[in-house]
């Protein structure tokens, strides 16, 4: 899906936990996430902390969308 959206001309960022799959599939902008059942959350945190964590990851995704890349790039921070 990521690749077809990119092919259509839309910049796309893939947020996922298993980065090797994302690379194999062919995503170009990749943001690693927390865990498979809760990629953008952590049930062990308080609600406020959890939302702050999610915000940090989404902001990283927005940064990825604003960054020129020539090849597959993982945005670790």
């Amino acid at each position: 899906m990521v690749k077809e959206i990119e092919r259509a001309g839309l910049p796309v960022v893939h947020m996922c936990t298993i980065v090797p799959i994302s690379k194999t599939v062919g995503a170009n902008r990749i943001v690693p996430t927390v865990a498979i059942p809760h990629p953008l959350g952590n049930p062990n945190l308080s609600r406020a902390e959890e939302k702050a964590l999610r915000r940090k990851l989404v902001e990283r995704a927005l940064k990825a969308l604003q960054t020129p890349v020539g090849d597959q790039t993982v945005f670790e921070e």
């Binding site: 865990a35 990629p39 953008l40 939302k51 902001e59």
Partner: protein
């Protein structure tokens, strides 16, 4: 000959997705599919130990899991290591490939695994190890075990391994010299004639298939951009109105989130099988971050969040369907003037 066998929590009969977080553990002798291997090996080799590890544990703690499992394997000084078969289970396939490659590289023990050709583990590891090509579900267990056992015995005895077509493994991209019955010019002309006649022919040199898409230029001004959310994590309005399948999805859904500022346990849930749904069902923002994007929208950090989001279930979904979903969704997004996409996966 001694074999150590690696399987996941499901085939290890420990449990389903709720047990996918268990760390590796070892059992003496056979467990689960080990019984079928025992029959197929006909006493020529014996599974002395079975290592069971949760798929999520492996995926989320790869380095640690690998080290723990290598230590376990070492203690049994096997002649061969078998992992799986994993069929079309993505995390399981990657775990089988990762650990099999590590056993081969770091312990010098021959390895074999089995997967369905669309398992992401195939593309990641087919150059490194022998992966027997299996059906896409455990219905293909018998056939997979027969081929994997035959391959295991050959490898352990140091016998010559035939071509991928003869042995049933996925091509590794290795060229092997051999004496052909006829010289190259004759084989080439024969092939050409078959091609002209429209008959089936087998090339001797397959061209590699690369399907990479060049990255699009970045978003120029994110504060004016319309951002859309897409997910393969199965987030749907409560009740799953389109009845998206829990695995092998044949469709995707389009859902209106105008006026939605937070996904709650009362309004949204996941349709995805194959991962523990508890966390996503309690708060679907953990998969589809609508709450945070609404905040960013109100703060003017992004132009807007697109009114519709698109969701399917990425669990054993065929590549052909995923391609179709992606292309159709992209078309709609372009028509709606979307500038960039965040796609989340579980």
């Amino acid at each position: 000959m001694r074999i150590v066998h690696y399987i996941n929590q499901f085939f290890g009969q420990i449990g389903g997705e709720e047990k996918a977080h268990i760390p590796p553990q070892i059992r003496e002798g056979i467990v689960g599919p080990g019984m079928a291997f025992k029959q197929a090996l006909r006493g020529e080799a014996e599974i002395v130990a079975t290592i069971i590890c949760g798929d999520s544990y492996f995926a989320e703690n790869e380095a640690k899991a690998k080290a723990e499992i290598l230590n376990m394997v070492k203690k049994y000084y096997p002649d061969i290591f078998i992992a799986g078969p994993a069929f079309n289970a993505g995390r399981y396939g990657i775990a089988c490939g990762t650990i099999a490659k590590a056993v081969k590289d770091e312990l010098g023990i021959p390895v074999v695994t089995g997967m369905y050709v669309e398992n992401p583990g195939v593309e990641m590891f087919r150059r490194d190890i022998y992966i027997i090509s299996t059906k896409n579900s455990a219905a293909g267990m018998r056939d997979a075990v027969l081929k994997m056992a035959a391959m295991a015995l050959k490898l352990a005895k140091g016998e010559r391994i035939g071509s991928p077509a003869d042995e049933g493994y996925v091509e590794r991209g290795i060229r092997v010299n051999y004496f052909a019955g006829e010289r190259g010019s004759k084989r080439a002309v024969d092939m050409l004639i078959k091609k002209i006649k429209g008959e089936a022919f087998l090339t001797e040199f397959k061209m590699p298939e690369f399907d990479r898409v060049i990255p699009n230029p970045p978003v120029q001004d994110i504060t004016k951009a319309k951002i859309a959310l897409v997910t393969s994590g199965g987030i749907v309005p409560k009740g799953n109105p389109d009845r998206i399948e829990a695995s092998s999805a044949s469709k995707y859904g389009e859902y209106d989130i105008e006026g939605v500022f937070d996904l709650t346990g009362e309004t949204f849930e996941t349709a995805h099988g194959g991962y523990d749904p508890v966390y996503a069902n309690m708060d679907a923002d953990r998969v589809l971050p609508v709450d945070v994007l609404r905040d960013l929208e109100m703060e003017g950090r992004i132009g807007s969040l697109h009114r519709y989001y698109y969701a399917t279930v990425g669990n054993g979904t065929s590549v052909a369907n995923a391609k179709r979903f992606g292309a159709e969704i992209a078309k709609k997004l372009l028509l709606d003037g979307v500038n960039a996409v965040i796609l989340t996966s579980t």
